[in-house]
Symmetry: none
Subunit: 203 residues, 4 copies
DNA sequence: AATGAATGAGGCTTCATTCAT
DNA sequence: TATGAATGAAGCCTCATTCAT
């Protein structure tokens, strides 16, 4: 029905599966049941199409998180964090292509769009980090969380946990993944209590 | 003499940065200071080159982990796990291309090699998972770890933690990443203690 | 509009002159005043183009022979055979490339198409042989031909005669070739009378 | 043992099967169990190799016919012609590649060697034609043959018959080919008797 | 909005050939 | 005599893109 939307969806799938260069306009066109030339009625060129997909994805997520924030305004911070975690995993389950596209965009963005893509992703990540940081800060203020780590550090850790867990689902079908993923969160949460900083060095 | 090695290294870099389709033989050849045709003295075709890179990578890791296992045979399990975690992060720091290539291979393997690549990766993952599981099992036996979760589940969680943390470094240069990464491990470790299983559902 | 036709004609010429491998797509494209890529709007690939040429040729011939059969339904069998012979030679004179292509297709078909080509040619040959056999049979029934040889054997002989004579024209410009070719037919026809089978052995 | 000879034989096979352009040096080398570069120890280049094969073939045949001529000096002309026919067919049976190569060389000689090849073949053909003509002339003188056709015309016809019959064997495996081929010769020979020249026209 | 035909650039691969060994 | 590595040219094909319709 809505051709543009269909193109976007198919483009997302193929960019996710085959990478920017591996996903040819022909392929996307064929799947959309339109001609290659037809795509150019909607998008100036391949780069334009890619950016459109990316923007779509970012907008969709941003909107979601904003609504979430509103709705859970008064919930406990544990609940809010747990909720964030679960939503992310659910996305990985229901729309693995979203995660794949997102990761691909970070690891190997289209050569010619490297800068633009990196900036957009960075902005989106910062938006989410800020939301997480806020929750941790609130959690500390409310006494829910006791830890010597800064809220920013915790936000980064949490973000990383989410990405790792999402990927885990996309990459590997392992047995009993629900248990595993929830285990991750639990361990994380349970670890959120005072403890002396360690002195290990990575480099 | 070591032209082959040089080709492999450059191929790894470009496959990691641009994806399989984005990394052209010309590019790899130019970087190696050889002609495109020259590459074909060493590798039957692009797929062959890709598989060679992948095999190289897998062999290198496998060898590392086996040595590690030998050397740390008598260390505490916390130390052994911590060590595994740190080594992975160090790899991400020193050779981000390895991680990038590895992730790309999972998320979007070359279309024509999908099955082969998936199998190789799966085998490699299982090898590591077994190693981790063994450590958790030993940790429980030694009383270091108290948790209702199965060792396999813990292994999966740990593996996921490592991949997440590695990617985190590759994708984003964030401030004070050492602290963040170690925080993740700490929280994980501290959480390893008895607690009632939760009843959340993801789907 | 008739670009496809032009491609087919040029392809026939070049396949005939240079063989499948010697006839490059560039060459065919240049002659057709189109880009190499342009050919791919009409033919999937080189093999496809080759097969199209072959099919065209076969279809053209089949159609011709069928019409001929209709038109000469009531003529004497000598006339019908003479006519077949002359038509074949005329083709060799007017369109030597047809004969060249046809022979090449039999002697050294494209490596990758060996089976398909052989089958198509075989079918076409059998069609013609059946037509010839029919004429010889009719000739015998009508008392025009007296010979101990089977009609099938005669058909094969006649077919062979025609191919030999056609090639003769294509390969060598010899003096007074009309006389020579007709001599061949005459000798053949005059020989069609009773005679005891010979006992020579070839191998 | 004799590497050069082996190369020549394999080259003949592949030139015959795949044509000049289709037969790559790699292919010939591989079959000879030598390196591509190794061939260049014996032949200056591909053209040189091709010409060597052709010369070899021509010399072999010439030698054969000269010997034959000597040996059958006193036989009847029917026997001598029959013998020539049978030898040719036997060659087609035992060494189809020779015939294939020979036809290919006529129909589509290597582009760059067109002139040289054509001249060599022409010379070889003329040599044989002269031999045939001589036999027909002698046959007439001896009263074995009665026909209004010139000996040269008969020689051409006979040559054509032989090529047609040889090809027939190479191209198509048909049932009872011995009978067919001999039928051809018989019909030809039986036709060699006086008869009024016909007035058909080919063009 | 959508198409079919066409294009120039570039991708992967093979080719004939050379050269140092 | 023979090799392995290397090369420049060329071959087939696909790509992103355009344009007239």
């Amino acid at each position: 029905m809505n051709t543009k939307q269909t193109i976007l969806e198919n483009a997302l799938q193929f960019f996710a599966s085959y990478g920017y260069d591996g996903a040819s306009m022909s392929l996307i066109a064929r799947e959309t049941q339109i001609t290659k030339a037809g795509i150019y009625s909607y998008f100036k060129n391949k780069e334009d199409l890619y950016i459109a997909v990316l923007d779509h994805l970012i907008a969709f997520h941003k909107e979601y998180w904003i609504k979430k924030k509103q709705r859970l305004k008064s919930a406990s911070n544990e609940k809010r964090l747990k909720d964030s975690f679960i939503f992310s995993i659910q996305t990985a389950v229901k729309e693995p292509a979203l995660i794949a596209f997102w990761q691909m965009a970070q690891i190997s963005p289209p050569r010619s769009l490297e800068q633009v893509v990196t900036e957009k992703i960075s902005a989106s990540r910062n938006f989410l980090l800020a939301y997480f940081e806020e929750m941790f800060e609130a959690g500390k203020a409310a006494g829910e969380i006791e830890t010597p780590h800064s809220s920013l550090t915790l936000a980064h850790s949490f973000y990383c946990l989410i990405e790792g867990a999402s990927l885990k689902h996309v990459n590997a079908n392992f047995p009993d993944y629900e248990a595993t993923l929830l285990t991750i969160f639990e361990l994380f949460w349970d670890g959120l209590e005072a403890r002396e900083a360690d002195e290990w060095k990575i480099v």
